[in-house]
């Protein structure tokens, strides 16, 4: 079933703030095996001019994807989430995410396409901090694979 094209351009309300913690950043850096001290040592982060430890570049996806999940779960959209795979991912950074940030995500459906039975949806997540400063934008392309015949 084709997705409802009228959802293109639709924005969703900002998410509740997510508070970025030092230990969560450490846990993520350890999980990807990255020993860069800028993720765990505030002094190392300050040496690069950061106010506190910063998060690895893809860390913010955990927050934006949760916000995107609220979009794809919108019953009006009609997406079969059990068939969804991650197609593309892109980030544009104004500044790195850092410990102490309280981040909100505003998601917008940028495009909906149908290709060879697959439904493709592009979602943009704008991430802002508590002061309203833009931190990063995440673009996520999700592909709902065509249902098998029969």
């Amino acid at each position: 079933m084709a997705l409802d094209q009228s959802f293109v351009g639709r924005s969703y309300p900002p998410t509740e703030p997510y508070e970025v913690g030092r230990e969560k950043i450490r846990e993520f850096a350890e999980a990807v095996g990255d020993t860069n001290p800028v993720y765990t040592d505030p002094e190392a982060a300050k040496a690069f001019g950061h106010a506190d430890v910063i998060a690895p570049p893809t860390f913010v996806f955990a927050i934006t994807f949760k916000a995107a999940g609220d979009v794809v779960a919108d019953p009006g959209l009609g997406l079969d989430y059990s068939r969804v795979v991650h197609g593309d991912q892109k980030f544009a950074y104004v500044r790195p995410v850092r410990a102490g940030d309280r981040l909100t995500v505003t998601s917008t459906i940028e495009a909906i396409k149908s290709l060879a039975g697959n439904e493709i949806i592009d979602i943009r997540g704008e991430v802002h901090d508590e002061s309203g400063e833009h931190v990063v934008t995440a673009w996520t392309k999700l592909v709902a694979r065509a249902a098998e015949e029969g």
Partner: protein, 149 residues
């Protein structure tokens, strides 16, 4: 390690790189334990990343790595090169092929290389990354824009 990395300034200078400059390549091992740890850290508990039975049922050859795990590893070639991960301005990938992680005690290995694809304005360069696993490209259009000193 160059001397100027000690005081926190960028390791690599814009003037010192050219289109075609290669970044040091790295290999990243990934086992089932890695995926369980990444699931916990990232909050992505999709069973295709830890449950073989489930993965096979949905048509996959075996458990596969999180695409975002591979994306996180690939950018390390860039962040280790420049020193400050905060210098990354843009980063995007296409997930073209899954990284299959067998439960054989060895798992898989992701090999990442990168080279400067273009010199851009404002002391930034575009790095084109190549991520391979078992002889196949696992990321497409994998590019980062990074600010150099």
């Amino acid at each position: 390690m160059t001397a100027n990395s000690v005081n926190g300034s960028a390791k690599i200078s814009y003037a010192d790189v050219e289109v075609g400059t290669e970044l040091p390549a790295q290999t990243f091992p990934v086992t089932r334990a890695t995926l369980v740890q990444y699931a916990g850290a990232s909050g992505d508990f999709n069973p295709i990343h830890w449950n073989e039975k489930f993965a096979v049922e949905v048509g996959l050859p075996d458990v596969i790595a999180h695409g975002m795990f591979t994306m996180a590893e690939a950018i390390r070639v860039v962040t280790d090169w420049v020193g400050d991960p905060g210098a990354v301005v843009e980063y995007g990938v296409r997930f073209t092929r899954p990284v299959v992680v067998p439960n054989d005690g060895q798992g898989a290995t992701i090999e990442v290389s990168g080279k400067v694809g273009a010199k851009l304005d404002d002391n930034t360069v575009r790095v084109d990354l190549l991520a391979m696993c078992a002889g196949q490209k696992v990321l497409g259009m994998s590019r980062a824009v990074v600010r150099l000193g």
